[in-house]
Symmetry: C2
Subunit: 214 residues, 2 copies
């Protein structure tokens, strides 16, 4: 019997290797290779790695993160089914990945047999939905405007980073060489845009969306 080829992309070696062992235990699947990030994956393809049927993709990775990798895969390997495996269950992440073409979304605390059925289902149905994904899609309207964090301008981003450094708005005005009232404008715009009440909301948003490193 020909086994379905799987590639794993995860910067946590233990996780990647271990995941590989798990997949290899499923009779119908075989791990072709594992990579530490998107860049390595692409390098692998260029070096002759054959296309798998399924890629298990982590979100948080250095060098080339899950989103960028997903984007690349969707345009360059449209026939490869991608299942995202993430630590966090942020709805934004789920939605972003689905929009980028992911066929499934699993959390790292998923039971192994769910992984098995995710693999099976993605191959037969082309997608695998958990409750998590359903919820994310349901709340889409509510969080719809929050998703596009691409909408954050450079100035707003810089402002946000400074807020996350315990700076006061006056200090931020100095650093950014802008009038304090301008800074107050940034603040107001971001409050509206992100739907938060105060600076803490900004910090939480920035952290949740990896706009700042801890």
């Amino acid at each position: 019997m020909k086994k379905h080829a799987v590639i794993i992309v995860d910067d946590h070696s233990l996780m990647a290797q271990a995941l590989a062992g798990l997949v290899n235990e499923f009779d119908e699947y075989k791990v072709l290779d594992t990579f530490k990030n998107g860049a390595e994956l692409i390098a692998g393809f260029n070096a002759g790695t054959k296309d798998p049927e399924i890629i298990l993709l982590d979100v948080k990775m250095p060098v080339m993160d899950g989103f960028k990798t997903m984007e690349w895969l969707h345009t360059n390997k449209p026939n490869v089914q991608v299942i995202v495996i993430s630590m966090e269950d942020h709805e934004n992440t789920v939605l972003k990945m689905l929009k980028l073409g992911a066929k499934g979304f699993l959390l790292k605390d998923t039971e192994p047999d769910i992984l098995k059925s995710a693999l099976d289902t993605v191959l037969t149905n082309g997608f695998f939905h958990t409750q998590l994904v359903a919820d994310a899609l349901l709340h889409q309207s509510k969080t719809g405007d929050v998703i596009k964090d691409d909408a954050l301008k450079e100035t707003e981003l810089e402002f946000l980073k400074l807020v996350c450094q315990e700076k006061t708005y006056n200090e931020i005005a100095d650093i950014m060489c802008k009038h304090p009232k301008t800074i107050d404008g940034y603040r107001q715009d971001l409050f509206d845009k992100l739907g938060v009440r105060n600076r803490i909301g900004l910090v939480l948003y920035a952290i949740r969306n990896d706009l700042v490193k801890l």
Copy 2:
């Protein structure tokens, strides 16, 4: 040949199962069992699970986290060697775990052969040190006062969590059924204790030390 018994405690099923597969591939080791958290581990012991030689312990877990579990193990199973396996490389976490009696500290992005040598070394030497651990010990003096986040009292912790929910101090006073001035006292104490200037510092501290979930 008799194999060394290992138990894995990690709330991420995929990680736990996969890790088990990995350890089972090492000739000299055998996974006795896996548990989702400290409470389940203890329940397992009570239900007759035999003591392993080594426990691989995750830090972030619901119900009974790594620290509490480590504490319990150190007093109740002093002969079991514990290797902590963590996502984050916070020095505080490393030091805390070492103080609680952990014999090794690995990150989840460790290479599998490092895990192998960690297992071997812990059995023969009684500990396994990586550069990470060495660094943590070196900086111990500097961060000495920050380490003891045990010093955070229950009220302070509750206050901190509410701060991380965009609440104002007056709202927090209502929720905690305390006078606003009392809350202001908590705030001041925490500012001094943690060395921060404003609420944002509190939020960052809470997040960095996993006191709140994102």
